[in-house]
Symmetry: D2
Subunit: 496 residues, 4 copies
């Protein structure tokens, strides 16, 4: 296959240079002319928008970690025969799957938010085996194309966003039953050189910060839904794409100029709605096209990977536990047993999430395509705990923070020459701790439990990678009730 | 007592006209020349500030409800021999205590937030019996003064804020052990005609919206802390007072001009820091001055009243349950059993709070001073559940809302002629429901679980009227372990 | 009505003498020739059977309490114009309903188990209004008959068991759909002088210890189910009745001769299956016969009363909390903060149950028939918490007990001259506490969390008065989702 | 070392023949002349005692599983260079640690109870590294002796019980502070050929069913406690040992002759008190003697292994979930969504335990001595969830069981010619299911939640391997609060 040998795999659109580190990555995003709507306006340059920039910084951290700790955040890939960012790596062992979790926790610790690069990693790994199986079954060319595309991304060290969630319209109806057929992304034209697709993808993590997005169907499909069975890669600067930035709690604090009231000045997450307005995709970047029977396996494998990727939240939880311990110190109440006990409870819950997640990864099996896939039951259990425990951890953090967290004056007041010194006097905690430090840590806890990063730590923990009920359905499927009944009947002395 | 017969009880400062309804109340707040700092600036007229106004509207609702439903929100007072707003009423029966709870729940339902008038009500009722007992013990004149002041407030229908919480500095130290003696409010001068006090009061609910504040000590005091044992009424426009407005999650959305992204455009809560800069108070408005032994009873009675006042949160919970049920409808998923089951769970938790609260009120006893005081154990139990269940109710509401709640574009985008129609198309849920309705209800849930009113529904539910540990200490005191041990030993056949 | 004037209301079967106190009550049960099966044998005299007797003692406590504390456990009835045991009282005020709860908690404290007399009390009070309404609607004579029967029971101070729960067979099918029509109790013959009924009643609390049982239907019925719509009183010694004693965890320890391993030597609960083998009931004791439309109200009112009657479990909880505190003392660990904290948590949960229960009673309303009925929502909420919290309280009690609770040697070993002294040495806790005391309190906790009285404190807390799902259905019915949606839409600015 | 080459390692006491399978194992226990007290009597032959036998059967299952599934339940040991029962295996890889968990879950599924062989396995593995380190530090001969002893046990395939828990007396005092110095096991004499020890070990799992017990100290010791720092192996038939059998809920049902009311007729757990009355141990079987500084590491490592060994409870949980699903079937209610949802919740909790446990094993590290030891934090988290979730799983199982579980007549009644057929009629559920099957499954659920095996599934889950507070202390030690504070401060912009 000639294209595979030449330059960047013959893919001639999108970013065409190899990215070295976080700073380089940020540069790579400039000047792309994206259509990004935010607060009613089309943003000139997302990279320089104060509300958007923290989400770019979080993504940049995934590059810098690979430089700072290559064992953790990069791996040797046999696809491109080079060391690649782990987010672009196709797992070659159970340990590779485990290392993803370690890296995710670390990045959660470093950023205190969603660093947005997991969806693409999990999409690549699930497509890897699904395209392989489709090719085996139907002689389709998907696996080769995917490999080619992955090699391209590895060589240039690109960010690839996985775009799965359709808007879905009336939830009681399937894709073809909607009044508006575009509420699930679909093929509107099949051409000789490729396909044209239309629709939208909602809640797209880090999409504005990506170089490519890979669209995938969001639910199992029936044979008659074949136009909805499409997987393909689109460069983010495709003119048919429009991005509408999702509003987050307290988002405009980033535009106020300070660095305290934002809580976490450097990092945030990002979710946007992508409108796909009749985008043409050449065959070389199409990885599924009408094979509806492979959609269910794709969704199931992707969610299996992705539900255990939520151990990233334990890294965020580490930050919140640390913040809670710090404010207790600053308030002068680090000694009481109930304070210590709450920190223990927070840690216990946080590690319970981690346990199920890393267990899922350790219990990986090799797929027919050769990559490694984690255990599904434990991944669902991990994610299901993620839909519960961060809320309790957040509640306990607020308990230790005290009411000042939500009654504290603004940063502008603290800096005001008139009222600032008075606040300095009256809002002091322990005398050896600057009032500003106390104020900063309270704002961080606010940020993580009510403000901008609570979006990622709480609500997105509920719904990302599937809402709680989705995990329950999956647990029901895998819990082997019939096998368990047999165990019980045997011990009860029942023979049927 | 001549002063009691003349005009407005001889109190010649503060608001001097009787207030009829909400609108009239709002007018009464204008032109007071308060020093209110907000976002670094001294606010010209708080009434017209878009960020402050919703909190005034919530307070105004307490006036309007008394007009619309006088049985619920007013009562005949034997002090002024007239029908008075229930928030100014000294309870004359157990039923009066119960009616407070019913009114509180209703106002929670109507405003979806903290309407700020309970603290004064609970302060008046606890001071009623404490001043009586001080007078009995020491021949002090506090009860008569208090009665006189209450009559004044009743006649003019004023808002009285109870100001209890001191900044506290280093929590491991008491008032006199702090490096800075002002971190608890204290008497700095005793004069012939009154006292001068200094300090601050933190987290003061609705103080900018009040006509008077009544300061009270915040913790039990030792004999040597007598300068800190002061209760007294101060008019809000006293020039020695400065208010620094507490920042809330998403507060500046109120300043963006729209009415959707705010979630609840009309109502919000208010907390501010009050700086008391050497304020003189004439004796006629001093209700405790140095009698440290009456501080513990005052704090305990106030918290007994106030902890069961938190049934207001069940009214807010009603709104959130309704919002969750509405979004399920709009998403087209009102039928699945898990949706219904979550609404049941939310209601169960909400009513569990209400049960303990209203039970505390029903189980009231008459004090020596003649008013009625609720059961302490059940009030603590009510409040302790309030520190837990709203978080779970909020989590379940977010579960039913779906991820769109935190990824939804801004109101400005929806109204943009360019991108608005596209959002209308792609974010539609059930076809018979306008997309805007869906958007509005999502913003309301965001408002109550992450945004501005989450401050009141969540964090303030934790810390208001005492943090969780305060209730546990009180439950420990009242749980009668020794009596319970006797029951157990008897049944176990143990005779000691 | 001549019968009402003569002697014991003209009811000439069953116990015919007035009972004074517990001892007298026990005597009244002798020599009745009941058919009671227990462990495969027909019991000669239940009163003297060591396994049955503790349940009789618990019932006797309801008599003794009325003597010892008449304000609590008796009331003046306008039906018989005399002071009657409160369990036989038709409520004449909200306070009467509240006093039932106070009495129930006290009896739970005194017996540590189910004292079995509430079902009859709740049956009488629900039948009171239902028969009244049937008479109003159809001119039936049920209310007069019931009043006559109640007067009889009041005058003789009898125990009346309410018999509601049918065996139900295949739960997915209604009464007439069962293969065997007898799986719900039904009328098999209508005669001129009365009816003949057949069927069974399962889980009948205290039935062997009763003088009368009142049968009632167990679920809402359709018009075609009219043979199943029957309420009537049957004397326990009716030869058509057979009782099969329910087996309880550790029941035979009562037959081992000691008083320690039983945990609670004096008191226990009782549940039995009643077989009703074509029992004739004269019209005078028939209170419903075919009026299927009154069955749903009867069931709903009965469960409303009965679900809040479960505050009895808070009395049992008081014992368990006391036992846990005692064993902590005996182990020498009463001081650690985590021990105190667990006692606080147990108390908090226990009082949360009590709060909802007593609130339901306080919030009673007068029925058309003149008696008072508690709030349904809060009663369901109370019971629903009873299906959860005792398990957690029990878990915490076991936590404080330590593992010895389930590894402790037998009473016979402790009393053995060979091994006893060695156990005395090695199982000693605090040196000033006799080892036997420690042993006794451990056995009490075992009794309440695994043993005989765990049946009442745990499993029966789940299923008595309806399993958890029954409360959820009732909460769903009463939670007024539509009203709550309106509140939310108003605040969200939605007008439809 | 000559002894290591000859025959059975020169150990000439205890069982001297190699055991093949479960039956063979049972035979090996006969005729040992143990002093076992049970219900006040010295048992003639424990193997044939109906109350004891089920616990022996459970232990026998560990032999049979090694025959039936050698990959799962045996391993090649480099110590004896042969395939050995996995319970006697010193872990040689992380996978070996993981395989222990898999085997434990399987045995929990097969027996529904505690199979008693884990303590010895975990004791061997923790002693392996501790003796190695003691030898390194002090030139002691412990590791060689231990290895010799392990080889002996491997060659004969013996059961080794780990005996750690001392009676502890007054918990507020350490070993030497007790009034009676024997309340912690101690050396009373040091002789030339060995030591003499005295004391007791409480809650000893499976000790009567063992061939050897290895005593170990139970808490960290101070230098002055050196007499208490002793590890050594004693043959169970040593005449200085006396066993007092722990009483369990419903234990005597095993002596009633039937096979239904027992719930699980074949298997049970076993806990006993061991009295150690001046037992002499030759040096060759002494593995620690006075080195107090190695006691803390020993306890910590043992609990690290053992707390994750509690994944056995997930196997028991599988049985209980299966039983709950079966009774729902039999009752005719397997379809309602709330039933399915409860099974999902039970599974989710069960797998959450498993996740943390297996994760702890996967995350093993190699010790200096060469064997593999699991992660401590995750092991503590696993065990801490075990102290909570089985209670909730048990509650849900009881919910699905229905009230009949605790009101069902006895097996004797069912078999009675008089009353049996009537019970058959009235207690039938679904018509195609024999009433006896329904009865049997109810008894199994009773057995696991209130009866004999609830001891292991509930209470022992709380206290085995350390009570909840012990895990909280360990989590506190390992949660790295300081590291977490640094993460938080960095993100909050605090530099100190």
């Amino acid at each position: 296959m000639a294209t595979e040998e030449t330059g960047m795999n013959g893919i001639t659109v999108g970013c065409q240079r190899s990215i070295e580190n976080g700073e380089d990555y940020i540069d790579s995003l400039r000047g792309r002319g994206l259509k990004v709507y935010l607060l009613g306006e089309n943003v000139d340059e997302p990279v320089d928008h104060p509300l958007i920039r923290p989400s770019i910084n979080a993504m940049a951290a995934t590059y810098d970690l690979a430089v700072d700790d290559p064992d953790l955040a990069s791996a040797h890939s046999s696809i491109s025969d080079r060391r690649v960012n782990r987010f672009l790596h196709i797992t070659e062992s159970a340990d590779d799957v485990v290392m993803q979790n370690r890296m995710q926790r670390r990045l959660g610790q470093l950023t205190g938010t969603c660093f947005q690069r997991c969806v693409g990693m999990d999409a690549f790994n699930s497509l890897w085996s699904v395209t392989f199986e489709s090719d085996e079954a139907h002689g389709t060319p998907y696996h080769r194309r995917l490999k080619n595309f992955i090699r391209h991304c590895q060589e240039l060290n690109l960010v690839v966003g996985g775009a799965m969630t359709d808007p879905k319209g009336d939830r009681s109806k399937g894709p073809t039953e909607q009044e508006d057929p575009d509420l699930y992304t679909r093929i509107v034209e099949r051409r000789e050189d490729g396909v044209v697709i239309r629709g939208a993808k909602a809640h797209q993590t880090g999409c504005v910060n990506s170089h490519w997005i890979v669209v995938m169907p969001t639910i199992r499909l029936r044979p008659e839904d074949r136009d909805y069975a499409v997987c393909a890669a689109i460069p983010v600067e495709d003119p048919g794409l429009t991005f509408v930035y999702g509003r987050q709690s307290c988002d405009t604090r980033s535009m106020e100029g300070g660095d305290i009231d934002v809580g976490n000045a450097v990092y945030s997450g990002q979710e946007a709605l992508i409108i796909i307005d009749d985008v043409f995709i050449p065959w070389e970047r199409v990885f599924l096209c009408g094979e509806t029977e492979f959609v269910a396996p794709l969704v199931e494998r992707f969610t299996a990977y992705h539900r255990r990727s939520y151990v990233c939240k334990t890294g965020v939880g580490d930050v919140l536990i640390g913040a809670a311990a710090t404010i207790a110190d600053y308030n002068g109440v680090s000694h009481p047993s109930h304070v210590r006990d709450k920190l223990v409870e927070m840690s216990h819950l946080n590690e319970t999430i981690y346990g199920a997640g890393i267990a899922a990864s350790h219990e990986s099996h090799r797929t027919a395509a050769g990559n490694w896939e984690n255990d599904g039951m434990l991944a669902n259990v991990c994610k299901h705990n993620v839909t519960r425990f961060p809320y309790e951890i957040g509640r306990l953090a607020q308990d230790l923070a005290g009411g000042l967290m939500v009654t504290c004056p603004s940063e502008q007041d603290f800096k005001s020459p008139e009222i600032g010194p008075i606040l300095e006097k009256y809002l002091k905690g322990r005398t050896d701790v600057p009032t500003e430090h106390r104020f900063r840590i309270l704002r961080l806890i606010e940020n993580m439990t009510l403000g901008r990063n609570s979006v990622g730590y709480l609500t997105e923990s509920l719904h990302g990678a599937g809402s709680p009920q989705a995990q329950r359905i999956q647990i029901a499927r895998q819990m082997d009730v019939e096998g368990k009944k047999k165990l019980a009947k045997k011990l009860a002395g029942i023979t049927e």
